[in-house]
């Protein structure tokens, strides 16, 4: 799998476009609560992501993963405090915040007729004055992002003509063109097959190392979450119920409790964990904190 990806990269001409390493920026949440129509989506949540780290948010549907990402991106009113490095988010203008945080929603709007280049260029919006137009350095950033994600051949194609994996790369290129030190990804692999899932996450990890990005991603696939992110945060009903390394969080008991799922956690020879769902003939584990009801997604 990885050999194939590496081969592809070598064929394309080794290390891709240069990009400056950004200042690493940590994220700190202190007692953050978010309410939607009086329903609490986050309840007094605290967490910290070191600059240049990768935190995966896991938890059942409706646990508050998306809300947490939106809170960091400054898209929901909240109580408590979110700090990026030393800066409280509430003190930053919308534009300044957009220069620091790139947010990729679970289902980004994809205007089918828009060309890939134009779409990636939208990532430069936080640097362009309200009624102004982009400048040379904006186009240079777009060129770098397109080259880095190997979209050159697709640059003048409309988004509607791309495959799911290609669209995901275009979305990532837009986020990259934003040149923000923090990258928030909501279920980045949701629409991809197993091969593209791994390729995308490898790519994100490379970008993280290259540029010193701080990555926070909501993830459904517990195996991928455990293998790529340095730290996991398990949310249930808007609270942190487990945090730490994959080995701390991904236990059969914890997952059974909070997902209401029956799983086995296994280990490969290198000591990495994989979570396998197993069939129990209707005796799946009991969830705590929340009844296993269907929650509206996308929040």
């Amino acid at each position: 799998m990885n050999a194939a990806v590496d081969a592809l990269r070598t064929e394309r001409g080794g290390p891709a476009a240069p990009a400056a390493e950004l200042d690493r920026l940590s994220i700190e949440l202190r007692d953050v609560s978010v309410a939607y129509d009086r329903r609490l989506a986050l309840r007094g949540l605290s967490a910290r992501v070191p600059g240049g780290g990768w935190l995966a948010l896991i938890g059942p549907n409706g646990a508050g993963k998306t809300t947490l990402l939106r809170a960091i991106a400054g898209l929901v009113p909240l109580s408590g405090e979110v700090r990026l490095g030393e800066m409280p988010v509430s003190a930053l203008s919308r534009r300044r915040l957009a220069q620091l945080v790139a947010y990729v929603p679970q289902r980004p709007q994809i205007p089918g007729a828009m060309l890939v280049t134009d779409y990636v260029l939208l990532g430069r919006t936080p640097y362009i004055p309200y009624l102004g137009t982009e400048r040379r350095r904006d186009l240079a950033a777009v060129a770098r992002a397109i080259e880095r994600l190997e979209l050159d051949a697709l640059a003048e194609r409309p988004l509607g003509s791309l495959s799911g994996g290609e669209v995901q790369r275009a979305v990532l290129a837009r986020a990259l063109a934003q040149e923000a030190p923090i990258l928030l990804l909501d279920e980045p692999t949701a629409a991809l097959d197993v091969g593209h899932q791994q390729q995308l996450l490898e790519l994100i990890d490379e970008l993280r190392l290259e540029r010193g990005l701080t990555v926070v991603s909501a993830m459904h696939d517990l195996t991928l979450a455990g293998q790529f992110a340095a730290e996991l945060l398990l949310l249930a009903a808007g609270r942190v119920v487990a945090a730490g390394s994959a080995r701390d969080v991904l236990t059969e008991a914890t997952i059974g409790r909070h997902y209401g799922a029956s799983v086995r956690v296994v280990e490969d020879p290198e000591g990495r964990l994989a979570v396998l769902a197993t069939r129990t003939n209707g005796r799946a584990g009991t969830r705590v904190g929340r009844r296993p009801t269907v929650e509206p997604r996308g929040r």
């Binding site: 799998m1 990885n2 050999a3 290390p15 240069p18 990009a19 400056a20 390493e21 129509d37 991106a73 898209l75 203008s93 919308r94 534009r95 915040l97 957009a98 220069q99 945080v101 947010y103 929603p105 980004p108 709007q109 205007p111 089918g112 007729a113 828009m114 060309l115 280049t117 134009d118 260029l121 939208l122 919006t125 936080p126 362009i128 009624l131 137009t133 982009e134 186009l139 240079a140 950033a141 777009v142 060129a143 770098r144 509607g160 197993v194 490898e202 990890d205 490379e206 190392l209 290259e210 293998q227 236990t251 059969e252 296994v266 280990e267 490969d268 020879p269 290198e270 994989a274 396998l276």
Partner: protein, 388 residues
């Protein structure tokens, strides 16, 4: 926990190794990267832009339509004489065009102001339509979506029914009342649509527009019922027309149309960002609600002014932007300016047809635009369904 060999997990080992090898390599490359950022590579990108050639072509088309509009009419004017007459109006140029005083009056007091008025109204309706489609992310949105038409209709009806028909008015009160009604309707729609939930969709705004429009139309119908003698006059206004003598109406709407159209044209890039939806636009630092308010405000003001003098001319705001969208792509940086130019040309030609097809009678221009527009509207609808 049991340690079991899982084939899928084995690949992760490779990634760990490559990551560790990569880390020290990064240090060495940092210098090169820094240099590269300071001197960015010449971009070979071709982002969508309005190319000068295309703009020139469109402008030529508009000039052609305007000349046709000036030359064709019940009184034949010699093209060369008209050309000399137009040249003669340039500063510091003195030529004798050979037009008689009567012909010159027809040219300057009838034909030219009518063509200019048609151009202004057409440009405004088309550019406002394009802008509405952008901020509402709805291909069938047009300036009438939030109640401009119903408000203007009610304003005109009230003016005809209740204002004294005295000669004391410096200019006809109907356009002023129509303008006021149109602005009032959109303000009401905006107020109602926003006072509900802090919804992140534009659906509440559009629904409020439907409600306000129905309400205003109901009042208008009631007033007309009570004052049956006004029906004819109101009807004539609603059908629309550019019949004008002299420059008064042009001067009346020019400031509104000029400022509104300019404001909308400047929002092209932001409308492209708005195509991503409010949420993503805000995550890119764009205040989506404020942009929508600014665009709707500008489009409403300009449309209300245009409608006040021309009546309710439909479909221009939909067919013109869509024709451009189909031919040249989805970027509002192209759609907005070309909508203004082609909207002007389209309405000048539609007006030409309206006044010549059954000469000396005039067909209401709204009939012509709807006759062309309705079939096109259906085409857009079918195409949109295919994409959606």
């Amino acid at each position: 926990m049991e340690a079991t060999q899982v084939p899928a997990a084995a690949s992760a080992a490779t990634s760990a190794a490559t990551a560790e090898e990569r880390a020290p390599a990064m240090e060495g490359e940092a210098q090169a990267r820094l240099a590269a950022t300071q001197d960015p590579p010449t971009p070979t990108l071709r982002p969508t832009r309005l190319r000068p050639g295309l703009l020139a072509l469109a402008a030529t088309g508009l000039v052609g339509a305007a000349l046709l509009g000036i030359l064709v009419g019940p009184v034949g004017l010699a093209p060369t004489a008209v050309a000399w007459e137009l040249v003669g109006r340039l500063p510091f140029v003195y030529v004798d065009s050979g037009l008689s005083a009567r012909e010159a009056a027809i040219l300057w007091e009838l034909r030219v102001p009518r063509v200019v008025l048609g151009g202004l109204v057409g440009a405004m309706l088309a550019v406002a339509g394009a802008a509405y489609q952008g901020v509402f992310r709805n291909p069938l949105a047009d300036p009438y979506l939030l109640g401009v038409a119903a408000g203007a209709g009610l304003g005109a009806t009230l003016a005809v029914a209740y204002l004294p028909q005295l000669g004391g008015w410096p200019l006809s009160p109907i356009p002023l009342a129509a303008f006021g009604g149109a602005v009032l309707a959109v303000v009401a729609t905006y107020g109602l649509g926003r006072s509900g939930t802090r919804s992140r969709t534009t659906a509440t705004l559009v629904l409020a527009g439907v409600a306000v429009a129905s309400f205003f139309t109901a009042v208008q119908t009631y007033v007309q019922q009570q004052h049956a003698e006004t029906l004819r006059e109101v009807y004539a206004w609603i059908l629309g027309g550019l019949g004008t003598v002299g420059w008064q109406q042009v001067v009346l709407i020019l400031p509104y149309v000029g400022v509104s159209a300019l404001a909308l044209l400047l929002h092209g890039r932001l409308l492209d960002v708005m195509a991503l939806g409010d949420d993503e636009a805000e995550s890119l630092g764009v205040p989506a609600t404020r942009v929508r308010l600014a665009v709707v405000g500008a489009a409403t003001l300009g449309t209300a002014a245009a409608v006040a003098v021309s009546g309710l001319i439909g479909f221009v705001g939909i067919i013109v932007p869509h024709a451009i969208r189909l031919a040249l792509g989805s970027s509002y940086r192209i759609i907005l300016p070309l909508s203004a130019i082609f909207g002007a040309a389209f309405l000048i030609l539609a007006d030409l047809l309206a006044r010549t097809a059954l000469a000396p009678a005039e067909i209401p221009i709204g009939v012509i635009t709807a006759f062309v527009g309705a079939p096109f509207f259906l085409l857009v609808l079918r195409r949109t369904r295919k994409i959606g």
